[in-house]
Symmetry: C2
């Protein structure tokens, strides 16, 4: 028996999450894809960079926007290993990301399917498609083992 393979961008996001964890950051990774090609990536780095906004999604969006020389990532997909928080959901909307694919759910800090539910208000000027759960087992285990080691 073999497992259904994860899409390549989510495998890359998980690798970035692992890299974050090894650097002592909460293990979350993200990539931005356009026409099947990765155009930006990022991982959590707030401690190392002294930047409270340096979540994986923000880093990946900034990376892609600079690469593509536009602040509008129209038609792009964002793969991320954890449900985005309010800050990141807001950034996704501002960037006009067409679709968000996230792995693990985050009832404690998420703002897509939990809490602020940023995309569900009329004040949110762009609402991406949202797909959840691809790679959630791997993503959640990375987070669990990170916090277990630090307890």
């Amino acid at each position: 028996m073999s497992r259904w393979p994860l899409p390549e961008p989510m495998r890359r996001a998980l690798a970035l999450a692992r890299e974050a964890g090894e650097a002592g950051e909460v293990p979350v990774g993200a990539v931005v894809v356009r026409d099947g090609v990765i155009v930006g990536d990022g991982r959590n780095a707030p401690r190392e960079t002294h930047d409270p906004t340096a979540h994986a999604e923000i880093c990946a969006i900034r990376d892609a926007a600079v690469s593509l020389q536009t602040e509008r990532l129209t038609g792009c997909e964002l793969y991320v290993t954890l449900e985005p928080c309010a800050m990141c959901a807001g950034a996704i909307a501002h960037a006009r990301i067409a679709r968000v694919i996230y792995a693990a759910s985050d009832p404690k800090g998420g703002a897509v399917a939990h809490g602020a539910r940023v995309f569900e208000h009329p004040q949110c000027l762009h609402r991406p498609d949202v797909v959840a759960g691809i790679g959630e087992g791997e993503a959640a285990e990375l987070l669990r083992s990170f916090f277990r080691e630090r307890r």
Copy 2:
């Protein structure tokens, strides 16, 4: 008769908003203050910098955090000319800003007193004090004249 003077950080935020407008960006400015001293500032710059996250608040928070060499702006105040959106409210919470002072209300895009009301959910791990309305006349007029000229 004279008007009650605006606090110096809000005057500086308004000057930054004006600067943004002159550069063709939506006129919003922000500063971060610690112990009465400005430790970071920013203005809207998403177009110029190809960065959809480059709102005034995010720029000011990143500036202050790098200056102070910490991702936690504990005890700091953020002055901003417009009610923060969901992205910026989330960033304010992550940065552990103690107090947010904003000028104009933003029923269309705000996420503090409108829409997602980011600080009001248990998923928001830090809730700043919020003070609204100082300098709102000046801030709103900057925005109105910016959009009037572009119609």
